[in-house]
Symmetry: C3
Subunit: 356 residues, 3 copies
């Protein structure tokens, strides 16, 4: 048997939900809400499968290449969604999705991991140097976003060169990200070793051909489903009377990115707080240092001019969330109360964007 039982269940569910999304999309059936919900669920499931395929592929290529593969391909679903949103001129959704993906990981998923881990295992302690390194990278990457947003907000002379400034910052972020890969590869190797011993969830033992096939199939499927999901977004927004910003910040962000990090919550439950932290916080680092810059450089392909200029409230929410997460992580342990506080903050930010 190549697939484990739980993998088979996940694949089966993904096929069914993706098929349902296809039917509702092409048959224009189910009104405005149902197709949107189904394609969102399909997207989240496909994002999980892409993640698992990338992990399996990395395992086969040798641990050294995992980091590169993971960062290049693991964020494909997220990238597709935002590209389709840009193609549909849903700029506000696109920007909010980027910020929302970071917030969802940093406050929602990390908060849930703290709660679940704390309720099951009491106070959980982190190995400090790893926790500090990833939180510093997160802080630095978010700090980079302050510059373009403020030049635009304050109408400084650079505000007239928004796109040039965004491209410069993007290239600098991508270079820094590329420079950080050797380090994360080495870390991934160490993790993988530790992971095998502890038998952590999500360890896939697929042969190379299967990993490649799964990646190709799920990647292409994610591209299609992203298109359907974005197509269903505008009617759903209208029917539900929510704002574009809320849709991107909460709904698209959770479907496109956060659900796949549920594995981090499982790790916290199984008392592996260090691994949980890496899984949950690597994701927002990759979004800011790779996905967002890639979108800036790729957006002309879909006829859009995406910049790194965030609206002030999103920027501040991002900074506050990251500072809180950094302080919460750097203290070296987590409790369910810290997790509860992070969830509360997430709920407040979401509320502030509720009104259209």
């Amino acid at each position: 048997m190549i697939f484990t039982r739980s993998e088979l269940r996940l694949i089966g569910l993904t096929v069914v939900v993706t098929a349902a999304a296809a039917v509702t999309y092409y048959a224009k059936a189910g009104g405005t809400i149902v197709p949107f919900v189904i394609s969102g669920a399909a997207l989240a499931l496909l994002a999980s499968l892409v993640g698992r395929s990338v992990e399996a592929l990395g395992g086969r290529l040798g641990a050294g290449a995992t980091g590169v593969v993971q960062s290049a391909l693991g964020n494909l679903p997220e990238l597709f969604v935002v590209l389709f949103a840009l193609k549909s001129k849903l700029y506000e959704v696109a920007t909010a999705t980027i910020v929302g993906s970071v917030l969802a990981n940093v406050l929602l998923v990390l908060g849930l991991a703290f709660i679940v881990g704390g309720a099951k295992n009491g106070v959980q302690r982190f190995e400090l140097s790893g926790a500090r390194r990833v939180s510093l990278m997160l802080l630095l990457s978010v700090a980079a976003l302050v510059i373009p947003a403020l030049t635009a907000l304050l109408h400084t002379p650079a505000a007239g060169h928004e796109r040039a400034l965004s491209i410069t910052v993007s290239i600098l972020l991508l270079l820094l990200f590329a420079a950080s890969l050797p380090d994360s590869i080495r870390k991934t190797e160490a993790d993988a070793g530790a992971g095998h011993d502890e038998g952590h969830p999500g360890e896939a033992g697929w042969p190379l051909w299967l990993a490649l096939t799964m990646l190709a199939v799920t990647g292409v499927a994610a591209a299609f489903v992203s298109d359907w999901f974005v197509a269903g977004l505008t009617p759903a927004i209208t029917t539900l009377h929510i704002s574009q910003a809320f849709a991107g910040l909460v709904i698209v962000a959770i479907a496109g990115n956060a659900v796949e990090n549920v594995v981090g919550i499982q790790l916290a439950y199984h008392n592996q707080p260090d691994h949980a932290l890496q899984v949950i916080l690597q994701s927002p680092v990759q979004i800011v240092m790779m996905v967002a810059p890639a979108l800036v450089l790729l957006s002309p392909l879909v006829g859009a001019a995406f910049t790194l200029v965030l609206p002030p409230l999103l920027l501040v929410a991002l900074l506050v969330a990251v500072v809180v997460a950094v302080v919460a992580v750097q203290d070296g342990d987590s409790t369910w109360l810290e997790g509860g506080a992070m969830l509360t903050l997430y709920a407040m930010v979401a509320t502030a964007f509720w009104w259209g």
Copy 2:
């Protein structure tokens, strides 16, 4: 003898000063400044006595209930003052009092504790996990205030729903605060145990009937004195040519809240830095997580609509003060120089609000 000598002195002084405040208020004697100063002194003394009664009551009810009683009743004087200020339409004073209470504890009282403790005992080290937990709660609670202030400042769509947003945030803060009580109760128990051994100041051995009577008497007296104090505020402001914001931020905040935390400075002097830190920093956490939300929900009772929307300069002063305090506390030790720096920052903030 039920009361200790120092308690008797405190009670006697409080009775005398409160009586003097009553006389000047009802007889409209003493011009514009004297009644205000006397009622402010009476308020600070009563706040101390309320605090001591609550502590004694908690000791009798069993340590488990101390946390609940303390947070429900210990902040009564502060609550009364702001309610009366709201009733008199002194909105600016009300908002500034909330922020000023946090600043006074976080910069002034903590700074003095660092200076006194450092001058007497040299570098003082904290037990890290406790220090980090309370500073994280402080950071999180203040982070929550960023959201409503910014939506209003930036005129985002949510700005039209200021009151609804404030109520949502308030309820979330109160829920989080309630969830945190079991933890602080457990901590209070441990503290109380440690406290008894070390005989820390403020340990009261009153019987239950006395604790209840003292609490009732001082609570009712605090309500009256708060009324007189607020009534004297406007004439005093006019005579002294100070701004409403300065009055609330510095004078009302210190009288209504900070003086009672002088016990924290005594603890630092007696080389109990951990206990000092908890006493001093729990207070601003309670103000942001309980008093401010309670005021939002209770303000309609006095015909006002209090929101959590802070003016930008107050918000930034609050954030800067809390970040500085968090960094100063998380480094695990304190020196008189750190304390001096915090006092300096407090003086600068006060100066910025001096001009009306």
Copy 3:
């Protein structure tokens, strides 16, 4: 032989470059760029020599006086440049130079030290208490700059009293700085002891008369060269099409202040991360706590009214840089990747001010 070989080379080079600067200035030769570049190089070299003279003088006067001498005289070149800029009504250059000196030390020099130290010696660990103390002072001093900038930006009532507020804040900063001197003197003593044993670079063994002569000569020369440098600034800006802000933030700041801290990079290379950190971070602390306040108080001498009011983008860049540095330092170790991230952030900030 009084001078070492490397000192002789430095002195010789300084004499030649300073003479060349004098020639181009008085002969009005070399167009608009060459005199500016030459006087900038002369200024950087003189700043190094002033620093070395101060160090030698301190060593002779007894370690106890080093701190006082160093802070009073070591920042002379920086002070001269900004004073001449103020005299020439180049307010934007003056403000940007102050901020740029902090940024250049905190991001550029510290980042380079992390990269060089990390590439040569792998992960470098700091002694935590020293690292935390200097980073806390840095945070506190920068926090003080938030107040005047915001009162001006938000047009609060204090905005009408900009100069009075700046003077108050300046005096408070100077008092705090004076209060911190005994501590840094004690630290300098310990450092000097350690330094002798390890033979760190920059240790000068000049006799008292030589130290005094060198200081007098280099100090006077620095004043002249500052004048030439500022005189060449406006033509160079015009020819190069850069903004005043960029010129101050990057060019003047690096020439007037950052180059002398190259010794910090050498210390990191020789695996003395603690000493490197102190050298690099003391400098921005002195700039904010002494140079900037001194400029506020001295500016009337050159007919200007310098205030501590920073433009918002400079203020935010400063805050972000300092928070990043504090987090990077407080984690207790440094890697080349952290250094790379700090350099990247510096490049982004510089880019944002590129456009005039």
